[in-house]
């Protein structure tokens, strides 16, 4: 059954191939959704059938109802906005500090020897350990929370940028020198594009830590925010509210991560990646 004997089979086979690739494109996320959907559905049915009262582990329908109720009253939006504002300002401060210090230490060996050991020592401290000090220094309101998030974001960004700058290929830098680039133009035309892939990864891990630390920050006393919803749900015995807040965290966290990836994507089309090669074939 070779194509040489039966040339008409060729286009048909291509169609089949295309149909298969479309199928695989949608089937793999679908495959991942299978397990959680079955579990959710099973739990829902179990509660409906009376096997459990679903008080401590609310069924999906109750979670959805709680979520919708919170959204309708505007509570959810208010809390989500408060949390998002903390993450954005903490992330912004952490990214700026991490980028500047990472770039300087990556660029200059002298500065690296001077300040990197201290920063590495600070990095070894679990960031939550700073909380009591931050509260003493900055009070119990926004400043201490944002600072904690900024500290969490700072280290992955700092490490990522420093590593990226020190590992820029000497041969590529030499091309820049041969074309008489120096200072700002060297940074703009050679160093910046060269570190961009690693920088995006650093930003994403920084953002992940930012979301982690915002919960810790809101646990230490907040009157609004998704973390407050969590604590409130625990204290008033409303597990559905806790799960609804967790879902909100997951959705907003994923969206912000997508934003970074989406914004960077047009600048990273050149990357020679295993994945992008595979999708071309």
């Amino acid at each position: 059954m070779s194509a040489a004997i039966e040339p008409a089979a060729q286009p048909k086979r291509n169609d089949a191939k295309r149909a298969k690739s479309v199928l695989s494109r949608y089937s793999s996320p679908a495959l991942g959704l299978f397990l959680p959907l079955v579990l959710a559905l099973g739990w829902e049915l179990a509660v409906r059938a009376g096997f459990s009262n679903g008080r401590l582990v609310p069924p999906p329908s109750v979670i959805y109802a709680t979520f919708a109720e919170l959204a309708k009253t505007g509570e959810l939006q208010r809390h989500a906005a408060a949390t998002l504002a903390r993450v954005v300002s903490g992330f912004g401060i952490g990214v700026i500090a991490g980028t500047v210090l990472g770039a300087i230490t990556g660029y200059s060996t002298l500065v690296r020897r001077f300040i990197d050991p201290s920063l590495q020592a600070l990095r070894a401290i679990p960031s939550i350990a700073w909380v009591p000090l931050f509260i003493l220094w900055l009070g119990i309101f926004e400043a201490s929370k944002v600072t904690l998030i900024a500290v969490g974001v700072f280290f992955p960004v700092y490490l990522g940028v420093m590593g990226a700058v020190t590992s820029v290929d000497r041969k590529i830098v030499e091309v820049g020198r041969a074309f008489r680039l120096s200072g700002f133009n060297m940074v703009r035309r050679i160093l910046l594009p060269a570190v961009l892939p690693a920088y995006v990864i650093a930003l994403r891990s920084g953002l992940g830590l930012g979301w982690m630390f915002v919960v810790a920050a809101e646990f230490m006393g907040a009157s609004e925010g998704l973390g407050f919803l969590l604590v409130d749900g625990q204290q008033l015995g409303k597990p559905a509210q806790i799960v609804a807040a967790i879902v909100a965290f997951a959705v907003i966290g994923k969206i912000t991560d997508w934003l970074i990836v989406g914004i960077a994507a047009p600048f990273l089309r050149w990357e020679d990646r295993f994945k992008s090669q595979a999708s071309q074939d």
């Binding site: 041969k171 590529i172 030499e174 041969a178 074309f179 008489r180 035309r189 050149w270």
Partner: protein, 258 residues
């Protein structure tokens, strides 16, 4: 006119890479530098293009001392060293950033046509074969119209067929504007095919050992007896240049033995 006056280089770790190299190359001349590995060929080239500064002596281009990369000197490395984040056209136009866009586009298009890659202008470097990538690197170096073009073993990473093809290509490009070419190679055939003058270097410390004028008409027939005669001449010089080094190696070995 490119002139080297007693150019020497000692690295910070005490390695004496180059000693008192003197020569000058006229406009449009093609010079090949051959020698065993570690004889300072690449060091010499890096000193000429200003990527490294010589520890002694100086490099002069039209009477002006070269201490840092110069706009009239271009260089092609052993690897293409294309910037992966720029398209083929972007890479070729890299040295023309300060020119107005229409002029830049026209010169890039012309150069790409000249190296036979105009259909690849919008591709990424990763999508090119080794030979194509090196052709893009050649176009990138030629587009700013350098007076002197340095080539550091430019074809040594390519297969034999591609290498011969690119050597012919290079001669074609050279004929357009006739820049001075200085080519470092360890391939004697390549030197004889391309160069007007072949300088044989000798290691430890690197210096010019012998100079052979090829004096063959172009295009050169690799099978002709004249070609073979020049090749054997260069081979013999290369052999002699390496001999003292071999002897000293033997002495070192004997010292270790005891």
């Amino acid at each position: 006119m490119l002139t080297l006056e007693r150019v020497g280089k000692t690295y910070g770790n005490g390695v004496h890479a180059l000693e008192a190299v003197n020569f000058s190359v006229g406009p449009g001349e093609i010079v090949a530098i051959v020698g065993g590995s570690g004889c300072g060929k690449s060091t010499l080239l890096r000193a000429i293009c200003g990527l490294d500064t010589p520890s002694q002596g100086r490099v002069l281009l039209d009477g002006e001392t070269v201490t840092q990369p110069h706009e009239k000197i271009g260089i092609i490395f052993q690897e293409p060293r294309l910037l992966p984040w720029l398209t083929v056209a972007g890479n070729v136009g890299f040295g023309l950033e300060d020119r107005p866009k229409p002029e830049r586009d026209a010169r890039v298009a012309e150069a790409l046509t000249r190296v036979g890659l105009s259909d690849k202008a919008r591709m990424w470097p990763r999508e090119l074969s080794g030979g194509q990538a090196q052709r893009v690197a050649i176009a990138r170096a030629l587009v700013p119209r350098p007076e002197v073009l340095l080539l550091d073993e430019p074809f040594s990473a390519l297969d034999a067929f591609t290498r011969v093809d690119l050597q012919d290509h290079l001669l074609g490009l050279w004929a357009d504007r006739r820049p001075t070419l200085i080519l470092v190679t360890h391939d004697v055939d390549e030197a004889v095919v391309l160069a007007d003058r072949i300088m044989v270097m000798r290691p430890r410390p690197g210096r010019i050992f012998d100079t052979v004028e090829t004096d063959l008409p172009r295009p050169r027939d690799r099978q002709s007896s004249d070609f073979d005669r020049v090749r054997r001449h260069v081979m013999a010089a290369l052999d002699r240049s390496l001999k003292p080094a071999v002897k000293s190696d033997a002495n070192e070995g004997a010292a270790l033995w005891w």
